[in-house]
Structures are given as C-alpha cells and as structure tokens.
C-alpha cells in the first residue's frame, strides 16, 4: 500500500514539472519573431587570369573550373553561358543558358532543361535515390544519351557512353569549344550557382578571353583503286562497294570526322550529296553514289572536319619531302580527291537490253610450230573450242582472246573487258613438258577474275595442272575462294583416263587420238581436291590403275586412293556461278566436250 507521504512526494514534483514543460511548448509554437530572407549563393571561377588581363588561348578549346557556396543552404546546380561574335563588325550574341546539376549520378554529369526554380526539385530526386542508385532502365537511357523526364523536367547526361570527349564529367568543370570564325574571337563566360530554394547567384562569376581562328584540318586519300573497277548499284554478299581509305590531320583537334562525295561537280551545286560526317576513315562506293553510274571516269572527294567544326574546303595541302637526315628535299601537293575508273557490267544493267556474250580466254601453252594433236598450238585450241561453241549454237555470241606473256608484251583481260561478258570461259588445257601453261594466273589476274565473279559474273574453267603453283600462285586461296575446291593434290603417276560425271554431267573420258603414245593412254598432274562451302562435286577421278598411295597423317599412315576423288566442282551461289573442270576438256572428243559445256552453261544460267 502506497503511503500518503510517498504519494505526495512523487506527484508533488512530477505534476508541476509537467505543467512547466507544457507551457513552454505551447509558448514555443506561437512562432513569434521574423523569418530571415534567403541568402543567394555565390560562385567563383578558379584558375583564371586576373580580372584586368585578357589572354588568347592556343585553340578554341578551353577547360574552365568553378565552385559554388550557399551560406544558408546548399548549391543544387550551376547555370552558364558565353558570348561570341561571327566577325569584328558583328554584334555579340549569347549562347543559351545551360543548367548543370551539382551532383553525379551513376557516373553521369546531368544537364537539365527548364529554369532555376525547378532545379531543387530535380536535384532532390537524384539526391534521395535509394542506395542502389538509378534503376537499370533509366541508367541505360542516360548511357545511350537519351533524355529522361524527372518531375516534369527533361534531363540528359553530358557524358553518355558514346561521347568520347564530353563537355562535362563533373558539375564543377567543363571543356568548351568556343566559336572562332574570326582572326581573334573575344568571349565572356559566366557561371552562376543555384541554391536549394532555386535562387540564382545575382552576380555570376565571369572570365573574358580570346580564341584564335580555327585552322581547318587537312585530308588525304590513302587507298583507292588503281585499276578499272566493276561497280553495281547495290551491295551484295560478294560486292561491298569500291573501297577508299583516307585520313586527316589537325594537331589541335582531338577528333576528326569525314564526309565524301563522288563527282561533286556533276551534282546540282546547291544539293551536293555529301555523306553524313562520320569518324570512319573508309568509304565503300556503289553506283548509286555516282551521278552517272555508267560513265567510266569519276572523282572521289573527301573532306575532314575537326572538333571545332572547321571543314577542309581547300582540297589539298603541301607536304615537305624529307631525306633520311630529315632534311627537306622537296614538296608534294597532297590532294583530297582521286580519279578512278569504273565499269557497270552491261549484263547487270536493267536500263538497256543485253544480249548474252561469252569471252573465251585461251590460257593454254602454245606449241606453235611443234604442235601435234597431243601438243596443240594456241590456234589448234581455238579451232577446237570454236567448233565446240559452234555445235552449242553460239556462233557470233562469243569472242576469243589469248593470254600473252612475252618479255615485252603481257595481256590478260582486265576487269573492263571481263565486265562486258555474261560468261567467261578460261581454258588452260595444254602445257609444256614441265606442266606449265606458259602463262601465270598472277594474283592480279586472279583478282580480276574474282572481282568479275563477285559482281555476278559466270565462269567456266578447264585445264591441265591448273593448281600447279607455277601456273597459279596462291593456289589454295584462289581455288578455295572462286572454284570452291580445296586441298588440291596432283596425281604424279600417269593414270588419269577420264572423269566420271555426277549431277547430270556426262562422263568425260580421254580421246585416244589426242594422246601421245608415250603417255600410255593417260594423263598425269590432274589435281584432285574436295569442295569447299557450297561447291558440289560434278566430276570424279577415273584412275587407270586404281592406284592408291600411303600418306602419313597425324594419326599415322593412311591409304589414299585417287579413284572417285573429286576432280570437278560446281558452285551455284547467290551472286555468281562457276563450273570448274579440273581436267583439260580438249583431250576429250568433241561430242563429249559439247555435252559437258552444254550442261555447264545450263547450270550457270547462260543457256
């Protein structure tokens, strides 16, 4: 039981104390006194020259640093702008104000649109994000350079992922490029802090300086076609366009981008279709880039633009030529345009009718005055195939040319000639005693054939010892890329007696009347191989002796037989077609040769 004394002691203290506190609290809520006005923020630029000096920078790019303070709050953003004039006689203009939030969110420096009054709201949104920061979708949008909307205000990152040299990486600095068209370009940059109630510093920090005129960059074309090239009006899996490579020079600029055009003088001068500026240093031209795609002579122009927006419009520059001691021994004029030559293949044109025509290239060895039926001259070879094409009903629909490899005279059809024919038949059926054709299918000739195929040409090849490196250097690359035959290997014994046809091709056995008695009714150095890619086997090796050899592979000796190995390939592609006969068609009889070529021409779509 609680005593009265204790009760009085206890409540005698507590009750009055509570009463006192209550009165104090009630009194405090009355709000007597006055609210202090907001003190505006202050802004300072750092690392700038004294106010009474005027400096001229080395180039129009300048990095400025600033800080802001607010005595009764904190700084939520900065606003900045600068002025410029286009010439000394022009009046000064101002760039629009920009507002940079005083916060870094997920590595992004953020620019907001709208006036300073909304800056505290936007700042608060970013400053009170959960510990994990921005959600992935928003963060990705900023990284892409997209604009997001926060509390009704548009916000974007100054330093998205694609921007190599952003203006802002932090809220307290910026790297600006100032307009500098005139010889000397004065500017005044001003920056003002915004505090947490949205009030702007009434006296922005300023700095004045001058920037020099921007020197345009220089441009040079480094790679361009030196031979006539074939062109189409579209890119295909095998024709990516005519390649040009170029580069630019500007010691002041961190970046360069380029635009190009073909035959700019032939386009309407008020609508020259320069390509969009791109940092890529190469261009791939197709016929639609050329005002007259069927003309042969063209000029490619390129021009570079530096990060200050200055474009190379001169089109050339002078470069000193130095000797080994770095002494100037002369000067070269480097142009940013190049003349090149094209042919639009007539068989690909849709604006004019085209009658199919075949080019026969006699690439065989010429036994000339020693010729026999086993060792034919070029003329005998011509006669044979002219007779075959006559039987095919192609009289008047083909032309014959000879490869020439004399000390003073060399000839092989170039792209310009090849491009006029819907089909090319290359035959190298006769060889000398060393299995040479007397004509080498040099890399240049291979490339001409390859380019012809790649723009939609059709090719038939027949020959003896075609893959012999002395006849075709870089054998593997060429045969794999064009005839689609790989791992080629000759029979070094005289045991080839014919080719067994597959996929509708007739058998092609040797004509005994065309064989030398010493050959024992068979040929050697006929290359077998295996198809690559979409290549299909159309002929298989017919061996006189069913000869097999022992090969040593990674797993030990392997028995390898020539019989039935692929010796002819057909490639019916989506852009070009080829029939490759890995044996000399001349050594079959004419009836067989006609049947073989008829099937080949049907397959490639020439019939």
């Amino acid at each position: 039981m609680m005593s009265n004394k204790y009760f009085l002691q206890r409540w005698g203290i507590v009750f009055p104390l509570s009463l006192l506190i209550g009165i104090l609290i009630l009194d405090g809520c009355k709000g007597s006194g006055t609210i202090l006005p907001n003190i505006p923020p202050e802004t300072r630029l750092s690392n700038i020259p004294p106010p009474d000096t005027f400096i001229v920078t080395q180039n129009p790019r300048l990095t400025l640093f600033w800080v802001g303070d607010d005595p009764d709050g904190f700084v939520v953003a900065f606003k900045y702008r600068w002025n410029f004039r286009l010439s000394a006689n022009d009046t000064f203009q101002h760039k629009p104000w920009k507002t940079l939030l005083n916060i870094i969110v997920s590595k992004f420096a953020l620019i907001m649109e709208g006036d300073e009054k909304v800056a505290p709201t936007v700042y608060k949104y970013f400053a009170t994000l959960p510990p994990e920061g921005l959600d992935v979708v928003t963060s990705d949008a900023l990284a892409r350079g997209d604009t997001i909307v926060i509390e009704g205000v548009r916000v974007y990152a100054s330093n998205p992922d694609y921007e190599r040299y952003p203006v802002h990486k932090s809220p307290n600095s910026g790297t600006f490029i100032f307009d500098s068209q005139d010889t000397l370009n004065p500017h005044t940059f001003e920056v003002a802090a915004i505090d947490n109630v949205g009030e702007l510093d009434p006296a922005p920090a300023t700095v004045s300086f001058g920037t020099p005129q921007v020197v345009p960059p220089k441009s040079e074309i480094t790679e361009f076609p030196t031979d006539t090239v074939l062109v189409l009006d579209r890119k295909t899996p095998t024709f990516s366009g005519i390649r040009f490579a170029f580069q630019g020079f500007d010691p002041n600029s961190r970046t360069l981008d380029y635009q190009w055009v073909v035959d700019k003088e032939l386009w309407p001068q008020d609508r020259i279709p320069w390509s969009d500026f791109s940092p890529l240093t190469e261009a791939y031209i197709i016929a639609t880039d050329i005002p007259d795609p069927y003309a042969s002579k063209h000029t490619f122009y390129v021009r570079a633009r530096n990060e200050f927006g200055s474009i190379d419009t001169i089109g050339y520059f002078i470069r000193a030529r130095l000797n080994n001691l770095a002494q100037i021994i002369g000067y070269d004029t480097i142009y940013s345009n190049k003349v090149f030559y094209t042919i639009y293949p007539p068989f690909q044109r849709t604006d004019i009718p085209y009658e199919k025509r075949i080019l026969l290239i006699n690439n065989s060895y010429d036994w000339d005055t020693l010729a026999t039926s086993a060792r034919p001259s070029k003329q005998m070879m011509d006669n044979f195939y002219q007779s075959v094409f006559s039987d095919l009903g192609k009289d008047g629909k083909y032309d014959v040319v000879h490869s020439i490899d004399l000390p003073n005279l060399k000839f092989f059809p170039g792209r310009g000639m090849l491009g006029k024919y819907s089909t090319v038949f290359l035959f190298s059926d006769a060889t000398n005693e060393f299995s040479n054709h007397g004509h080498q299918l040099t890399p240049g000739r291979q490339n001409a054939l390859k380019d012809y195929c790649y723009i939609g040409g059709k090719l038939i090849m027949s020959g003896w010892a075609q893959a012999l490196p002395t006849n075709t250097p870089n054998t593997d690359i060429f045969f794999q890329a064009i005839p689609h035959m790989q791992d080629m290997e000759p029979n070094n014994d005289t045991d080839y007696v014919g080719a067994k046809g597959v996929l509708g091709y007739p058998d092609a056995s040797l004509d005994p009347t065309k064989l030398d008695p010493t050959w024992n009714g068979a040929l050697y150095r006929i290359y077998i191989g295996r198809p690559s890619g979409f290549g299909e086997i159309i002929y298989r090796f017919d061996s006189k002796t069913n000869r097999c050899v022992t090969r040593f592979g990674p797993t030990g000796p392997v028995q390898f037989c020539y019989e039935d190995q692929p010796v002819g390939i057909r490639y019916i592609g989506i852009t070009y077609n080829i029939v490759f006969l890995g044996f000399p068609l001349y050594y079959t009889n004419q009836t067989t040769a006609v049947a073989v070529l008829r099937k080949a021409l049907q397959d490639i779509g020439e019939f």
Binding site: P237, S532, G533, F534, G535, E536, G573, I574, T575
Partner: protein, 196 residues
Amino acid sequence: MNRMWKMFSGETIFLSLILLIFVSNSCTQYEYSSPLPGILEIRLKTISDTARIKFSPLNNFVLKITAVEAVREDQARVSIYEDIKALGRTTSIYNTLDYRARDSNLVIGQGYVPPGNYIGVNLLIEPGSVAILDGYRRIPVVKSESFDALLRFRRPFTVSELNTTFINVAIDLDTSLVQGADIYDFNPYYYISSIK
C-alpha cells in the same frame, strides 16, 4: 488393484482426454485438395524446302538445346526434361534435318507440369557451327547479329490433370538459314505449329 487404479486413474483420464482432442483434430478434413499434374510433351518440327535443303541422312544441321520450359500465364516457369523419368536436363543435340523432325516426331522434352493455363514454351538453343549437305559440303553457320538464344514460342494452351498435352514447336529453316556466298546466316524463325 484398487490402489493402482486410484493412483493412475486421474492422470490417465486427463491424458486420454488430451490425446482424444489431438487425434480428433488431426483427422479433420480441410476443404482443399492438391491437383494431380498433367504431362507436357514437346516435339520439334522442322520446315524446309526440300529443293533447297532436303531431309536426308546425309544432311545435318543441329540445334543444341540446353533448356526447355513451359511458361504459365502468371509467368511461372516449369522446366521440362528429356523424358518423364529424367531428374534433370543435360544439353541435348538434335538434327533438324532428321526425318523425325520433318514428321513432328522428334521429342525434345517431356515432363509433369501443374495443370493450368500456359502462354507458351521457352527453348534455350545454340545452333551448330556448320551445316553439312550431301554428306560432304560443310557450310559454316554464322549467327546473325540479332540472334537471341532464348526462343519464346507463344501460343496459349491448357494442361489438365492426368492428361498429356502435345506441343509441336516448329523452326522454319527456309527463313532461319539465309544463304550467303559461302555461309548460312542463322536467325531463327519459329512458332508453335500445333497443340493437341
């Protein structure tokens, strides 16, 4: 005897009463039942223009399937293994040019699933790096830039208790394998062709 009875009677009666309460409560039948699962069988069907790529033992284009899932309408997903007795899924390789794929008989997944409404099937695939034609032509297969290994087949179907639902997922090779100069570009075109 009487003394023993007196000694235990009170406790015994009390314990018995307690036990009776527990036992009687434990036998209470609640008003719900757990449904029995249905069976889902997923089969692969390949569509191919035989003038282009034939169904033949000499032709081969494989898909490696590492996951098969049925997706319920509430987005819950259930894994489907190779067969109904499988304890998990390992990567399985299927030849899309197999005759069984032409005839919709190539089972790629089978399993028990809760009955309910489903919105589709997910397959996680990886195409073979080459297609073999005629037994000797090896054509490199290159995945297109937009290739997504997760194929989302969407068509609603219902799995009911104790019944088997058959889903045929079709891959159209005519559209999926685009011929280049020397390669096939692979960008899968697929759909659910039938539900039974």
